[in-house]
Amino acid sequence: MTQAPPPTDAHNDAPVTSEQIPPRTNWFTAARRVVPLGLSQSVIAVVLGVVVCFVIMLFVAENPLEAFGSFVFGTFRNPYSIGSMIAIATVLVLTALAAAVGFRAGAFNIGAEGQLVLGGLAAAVVAGNAGVQGIGAQILALVAATVTGALWIAVPAVLRVKFRTNEILTTLMFNYIAADLALFLVTDFFRDPDSGAVETPPLDESVWLARILPPPSPANVGVFLVVVIAVLAWIFFDRTRTGMRMEAAGLQPAFAEYLGVKSGRYLFVSLAVSGGLAGLAGGVAVLGITHSYISGFSPQYGFLGITVALIGRLRPLGILVAAALYASLMTGATAMQASSNVPFSLVFVLQGVLILLITSQRLGRSGS
């Protein structure tokens, strides 16, 4: 990669227009400095997003104030909703960390959804057929989910590292391939013959992740696992040499190469870790919430993870907060759907608005 001499003067040939024109690069590998720039931007985006939701409710809801109340505070009105919030947040933290690891290493893993779906399927199949019971099966299933997720990103990662293929497009396409593949595998091999839905047989209760709240509530021990993982991620990124190198390789690969950091290798490893985390998220969702692989079990956790990672400013501890916040809005939306005429899909509107606002380079930034 560094065999050619560095053409250092290439940037100086257009001094007049350098203000308006981005550096000359292929659009596919072009500057993607889209990451939130400060806490103020996260706060502005979340507040604006919720305001947009409120305005929509003013138009469509019969009783906007009540609907808005359920949306924002509905989670905290009964213990069951708090339990679902914790369970959803558990999955969101993992997918958000998956996105953040990719972002910080300089690559976009949009394919978390696909890795999550296949990871979930792998967990369900392994947990159902492992031959062991209890905690052993759980660990095996979660490892299988992680490995599946990491394998699923291997092809886009190799293409990105070796040939600089645009990873946004390849991982996005791999989402759809994963959805078709999972549907194919479940219908042709793993389907529960007693069920009308496309799902695997229900898992034995001994392989469920243990509940931490009374039964109907889906909150489970996975939440401790993800807090540990988030803390480890924080230590890794901010307190170790390898983590700093990884980030340097993402920020400025050429510079990292001059320092003797093999940026390609770091990028590949980060993408594999990113895929693994997304796969693990699928495993946690299946073992902890649905207790079998159900086609369409994910309300787009993978894409939600991107939003959460951006709100959390790519920092593991920020992600914990952002995931809890977002999960409470999702549970609130479920409560809102039950108590008013505003549907759950408002969450997708919120998500779209949030991504647009939070990746904006105009917002929350003084000056340019």
Partner: protein, 314 residues
Amino acid sequence: MNVFGDFLALTLASLIPILAPAIGGMFAERARASNIALDGCMLVAALAAIAVAAATGTPWLGLIAGIVAGALYASLLAFAAFVLRSDLLIAGIAANLLATGLTLLVVTNVLGSTGTYVPTGVQLIPRIPLGPLESIPILGPALSGQSVLLYITIVLFAVGAVVMNRTRFGVHVKAVGESDEAALAVGIKPVVIRTATLLLSGALAGVGGAYLSISSVASFNSNLTGGLGFIAFAAVIFGRATPLGTVLASLLFAAATALGIQIQGTGTVSPQLLHMLPYVATVVALAVQAIGRRRRERFDVSETNYVPAIIPRG
């Protein structure tokens, strides 16, 4: 009718919602403004088309509404990319998510139906019977009874190919795609051209969306497109954003779709595996392009291989 005639008819019918958005997507792609939100544009346009067609009783007004809605939705994307300065691909993904949420919201709360919107009294876009020409072997039964939109799409494609290769606008699009500095130097404004191509792609995605809701079926739900916009986008990438390549890729993906419908239930090949084909083809196309570019770059030191990355700050 024989099996092959059926297959051709199905292929041509599947071609409409792939080729129409792909033509617009080709312009956007050529100007380096990848419109990944084709799917969202189609969805919004499909809803607008059926709602207007139901309200006015004229499918043509519905078609126009679809085109306008598609272009308006694409303008949101252009706004995000050029005013808010978000990354275009990420903004496109956000726009797709937003389209699902918005259409579902409008269907349940404004149009007042649960999930699927089936208005009464929607007139479909007419289909053209060929009459005596139907006796032509193979082609006759394949073309007979196709929606008018098929012919409109073919005309749009021809016009698009001419505009791309034979007009000033096409040259400007390609210039912007080649190099921003060069385009600016001769007085072409890249942002204006990119916005124009995005609006164009939204409008043409609107044709595809209108086909789905007021020609193919007379109902709407938020899964109506079923990822067709992404297949159209895949056709653009696979066809390398040239008119000929795009139409051939669209035909290939349409044929795969038709084959998937035909073999459903026969149990020879899983329809899910066939459904994957466009996506796999896109990844292969991207890989082949990237490998080719890498080969050329190995002997070319004129351009920096600077790969900018995300910069988290604060």
